[in-house]
Symmetry: C2
Subunit: 303 residues, 2 copies
């Protein structure tokens, strides 16, 4: 998808929060906003939001003088989520439908997104997750319209590729991988991470920090955008993308990058994310704050 004018105020919010997460003082925070303002006239809205975000975050990094302004918050997100892993695992194991529960948690884990918000309290978010998980399972069947399709796709699959999104969230993805491993032990699993730090997105370091490699082979997308834009990914990653039987794209950034690939992926691509802005809400006919498990077929049909 292309970038919307509505994305522009958000770029400023991201710049300010990146500067603050990095510990920069107010004068640097202001310089960051001015530097972003300087880039507005040359922004190409024809490019996807992750491409635009990369160009802006490069400006932000340069102004702050840090190659990874979110470094500390990423480490903290991973550690906090790892601390909760045993409880999450128990929640899933005690569930009537562990795969469904793991999918719910993997979507909910996408709430951990310091690009979209800065006031996150993981404990509070998890309470929301558990509350929502029950209410969704009880009453909001319709929201998970792609779940059965997803299960069918997995049952026929030999290979699975998950394209990761955020630090912290990656621990929820690990749990999903664990559940898939238990249910479908023969599926070969791979997990895609960003080539370099951008916003609070997962890199190889986050995958190793959280021992995700005990369930999946970690691969870099080969691109730096906060969303896997295939034209910018490495040939190796594009090949994996083509060859995988099932692909799980986590988060809004990957949705923004990949939503138009649906036409070429023939029902194997599933988007799991929390809806974080009105533009995406409109694209998937949901509300901000909703969970989304959207199959590519649904997007092609315009559902």
């Amino acid at each position: 998808m292309h970038t919307y004018l509505d994305c522009i105020p958000c770029l400023f919010k991201q710049g300010l929060s990146a500067a603050r997460f990095s510990g920069a003082d107010e004068s640097v925070q202001r310089r960051v906003l001015e530097a972003i303002a300087g880039k507005i006239p040359e922004l190409s809205l024809k490019r996807s939001p992750p491409e635009v975000a990369l160009s802006i975050h490069n400006v932000i990094k340069e102004e702050i003088g840090s190659r990874d302004p979110y470094y500390i918050i990423k480490k903290r997100s991973n550690a906090e989520a790892m601390h909760l892993y045993p409880a999450l695992e128990e929640k899933v194991n005690n569930s009537k439908d562990p795969l469904r529960m793991a999918v719910e948690l993997a979507i909910a884990g996408n709430l951990i997104d310091y690009g979209a918000r800065t006031d996150l309290d993981l404990e509070t978010e998890l309470e929301t997750i558990f509350k929502r998980e029950e209410s969704v399972i009880d009453t909001q069947e319709a929201r998970l319209f792609a779940l059965e399709t997803f299960k069918t796709a997995l049952s026929d699959a030999e290979t699975l590729l998950i394209i990761g999104d955020n630090a912290g969230e990656i621990v929820f993805d690990k749990l999903l991988l664990q559940v898939i491993r238990n249910a479908y032990p023969d599926i070969g699993m791979q997990y895609g991470v960003r080539e370099k730090p951008v916003i609070n997105d997962v890199t190889m370091e986050d995958a190793l920090d959280t021992d995700l490699d005990s369930f999946a082979r970690i691969v870099s997308t080969g691109c730096e955008t906060p969303g896997a834009v295939l034209s910018l990914c490495s040939p190796e990653f594009v090949n994996l993308f083509k060859e995988a039987d099932v692909i799980i794209s986590k988060g809004q950034g990957n949705f923004e990058a990949l939503s138009e690939e649906g036409r070429r992926t023939n029902g194997k691509l599933f988007f799991l994310f929390s809806v974080k802005c009105p533009v995406i809400a409109a694209a998937v006919s949901k509300l901000v704050g909703d969970s989304a498990l959207v199959g590519d077929a649904a997007l092609v049909e315009g559902n």
Copy 2:
């Protein structure tokens, strides 16, 4: 209060929504954002948010080519609120404490703010108002900590000045004036409006459209900022401000302009507004979405 860096992303949001409310096409919307970006380096954060907003909205108006981009939405807000007036009036009349209910509605009416949000549905907001009004009256006594002080101030007052905020909301202020007139028939009432159109703020035209002049004399603040910055107001208005026994300041813009006047107004100034952003929430120790009836004494004491 001074302007915060956090206000900058909001200025872009306001520019985009102003352009859209005026019916401008996408190329004009983009030009508006670029024009705001061009102003960021020279923004003085020492000035109050209403002063900064005025300078930005002048740029927006120039780029759009309209002196009042919110004209249509203001007319609609007034008409919709007037349509609901009889029901609101009944709600107040059937209340155990009509003044309290009218205060609740006047704060809730401040939700009608197309500067802070663009997706407002008045009917939905009113349901929220009625729901909230009951729950606040039942359980959230503490939020209205200044109500009794406010009542005492009114009972001793000969003159009252309300400084209005938004179109639509003005109808809720009219109801408050009506209730005060019934309870304290001898108070002379005046209602301050902006000198010229800015955002969706009330002007003389809105006051006359909604027959507010049947309860109060309408006066212009004499200034164009979306918030009555006294140093920019007319000497006549400043005099009214000094002489009034009780002043009700409606909305965040007036709070931003007047919160520091508390030290000089000696307990006669009351701020009624819905909290719309984290910066203001922190200033009054509340949450975004909360109702606020804050007496100036509380601000001086730092409560």
